[in-house]
């Protein structure tokens, strides 16, 4: 048995039944990372010593039959955007290259208190800005299915690490598609929860009105399992409402007979790869065979979502990035004793090209005289996009779409064309603007590259998209396919 191929839930069961130890599992994952991560580049920091001692601690507790959290002893990889006390947390930015936070993000605290094994911190597009993993301030991540291609982004390392069996599951963030799209490119399962479902305290902010946190896993059941552990109100993040957390693992077992699945025509436009289109349509057929009803729907403002996003996101970025000023933490260029020079030199040498680009777009959009034409307008269009979904969800349970118009592209292909990179998020951004939940799961291959489907659900109705996804995986095996890394 390859211990590193087990799902998180299988790992939990195996540990509980004493079939293997957490130390064995952890060592197996570390071995996998050491064998293949020089090719993939999924990790920025390995947490080997702490991981092994945590694993041994869990093993001792299991031996003495102590009661433990279901996450205990399971190796997890965490996007380097999350603050981890005592472990370098860089946001994949040179401006935080050596930053070791003195506290844990709330979700990390949950994992640590549950005796989860943090195996390492994963690579990403700098501060989560990008959709390819190439904008890391350190090195790009490669797709385990074809290392000449991108893994998607911004949770590039978190998706690649799961696909390459370098961890049992990982945590990522999704602002405009950053969990769903890399999961799709790497044949993993990725859940973007509803805005506010999971606490963001201690996770570096990018676009505060859109940022969400979620798991990337080996199957939908694991996504349900992990969400159940990390969802809920946190008084340290006042955007988390006291909305009930469902028993997802139980909910997903219910069948989907009579489930109403909407197929929006705006997601089957020109520019969508033919094979991708066919994969989504065969998935729709599969859902019908399982007793769901597939219905044509329309989300008329879809086409404006990317434009609204690329005003809202940079505007909030320009504000959020202002904190990296070389005064309180991180890089500080103090060659000159003038305060203005300190700011200029620190930001100029610390931020990468895409971060600078977004700061400038945002600064422009928010500058005197432009607010109404850009930011206000974008926030109004956001309302229209949101209303599209709310109206559709009045008589539809789940919306089925592609995650991305194409499979993974080659590294370097879009480097000098940021706009092309932005348009790759065309199918994930609308749900982000509406704050609804979305699940990306494997549904086939195009030219040997993984293709995912996206299931969108109502706010705080993760249980329904997880149920549809889980039932789909009961009758398909795409999610079990593994890359041959070379």
């Amino acid at each position: 048995m390859d211990l590193n191929k087990l799902t998180a839930l299988e790992t939990f069961e195996g540990l509980r039944d004493k079939k293997f130890s957490s130390e064995e599992i952890t060592k197996k994952y570390l071995e996998q990372i050491k064998s293949f991560d020089s090719k993939v580049g999924a990790f920025i920091t390995l947490n080997e010593t702490e991981a092994l001692s945590q694993a041994k601690l869990v093993d001792a507790k299991i031996k003495h039959n102590e009661s433990l959290s279901p996450l205990a002893g399971i190796p997890v990889a965490i996007k380097d955007l999350f603050c981890t006390k005592g472990i370098k947390s860089t946001g994949a930015s040179k401006i935080l290259e050596n930053y070791v936070p003195p506290y844990d993000a709330s979700v990390v605290k949950t994992i640590r208190e549950s005796k989860g094994v943090i195996i390492g911190k994963t690579n990403l597009d700098e501060f989560a800005m990008g959709g390819s993993g190439e904008n890391s301030g350190f090195f790009p991540t490669h797709n385990p299915w074809d290392i000449s291609r991108v893994p998607g982004g911004s949770s590039s390392g978190s998706a690649a690490a799961v696909a390459a069996d370098m961890c049992a599951y990982s945590l990522g963030t999704d602002t405009g598609g950053s969990i769903r799209q890399p999961a799709s490119f790497c044949n993993a399962t990725g859940l973007k929860p509803t805005y506010g479902r999971v606490s963001r305290y201690g996770v570096m902010a990018m676009t505060s009105s859109l940022d969400t946190i979620g798991p990337i896993t080996k199957n939908v059941e694991d996504a349900a399992f992990i969400l159940q552990q990390i969802a809920g109100r946190d008084e340290k993040d006042s955007t988390t409402p006291a909305e009930k957390v469902d028993d997802y693992l139980q909910e997903i077992k219910k069948d989907i007979k009579g489930l109403r699945i909407g197929l929006p025509k705006e997601y089957f436009i020109e520019g969508v790869d033919e094979e991708v289109r066919n994969i989504i349509l065969s998935a729709a057929k599969k859902f019908e065979e399982m007793g769901a009803e597939v219905i044509d729907v329309s989300l008329p403002h879809t086409d404006l979502a990317v434009a609204a996003y690329y005003i809202i996101c940079p505007s909030e970025v320009s504000s959020n990035m202002a904190r990296y000023d070389g005064i309180r933490y991180g890089l500080s260029k103090r060659d000159s004793r003038e305060l203005l020079d300190l700011y200029l030199d620190t930001k100029t040498s610390g931020f990468g090209a895409e971060v600078k680009r977004r700061i400038m777009i945002g600064t422009y959009a928010l500058s005197s005289g432009y607010y109404d034409a850009y930011y206000k307008k974008a926030m109004q269009v956001r309302t229209l996009v949101k209303q599209d979904f709310d109206k559709t969800f009045e008589d539809i349970d789940v919306i089925l779409t592609p995650v991305s118009p194409t499979p993974a592209w080659k590294l370097g292909e879009n480097t000098n064309n940021p706009l092309k990179d932005y348009l790759a998020d065309i199918f994930t951004i609308p749900a982000s603007l509406a704050g609804i939940c979305g699940l990306s799961l494997p549904a086939g291959f195009a030219g040997g590259l993984p293709v995912g489907i996206q299931l969108l659900g109502k706010r705080f109705d993760e249980k329904t998209i997880l149920r549809a996804g889980y039932q789909y995986q009961q009758v398909t095996s795409w999610h079990n396919k593994k890359p041959d890394i070379k």
């Binding site: 930053y99 009105s209 404006l304 309180r328 933490y329 100029t348 680009r357 974008a378 603007l433 704050g435």
Partner: protein, 94 residues
């Protein structure tokens, strides 16, 4: 929407970024392309449409104004590139 090199330099200054000549030229092109694309927003009438900034409908979340010790104030101040006696040091401003 064409952003001139001078406009890009002005925006960079507002954003506290230094640009080389080469950067300014490149950004002038790339930012113009992006702004051209977002012009799309002007094609739709949004008169009377409310802005959405909080999507789940939460309004101000209040709590009592009570002091809670973080227990890590020394570490937080200690993260500052220059600090002394529990204070963050900054260059002279005036």
């Amino acid at each position: 929407m064409k952003l001139s090199k001078a406009e890009v330099e002005h925006i960079a200054k507002l954003a506290r970024l230094n640009l080389t000549d080469q950067d300014a030229n490149l950004y002038s092109q790339q930012l113009s392309d992006i702004l051209d694309y977002v012009e799309k927003l002007q094609t739709i009438n949004t008169d009377g449409v409310e802005e959405t900034s909080q999507v789940t409908g939460l309004v101000n979340v209040m709590r009592d104004d009570e002091i809670q010790e973080s227990g890590i104030s020394n570490e937080l101040v200690g993260s500052a590139p220059e600090n002394s006696n529990g204070y963050v040091k900054v260059p002279k401003i005036l």
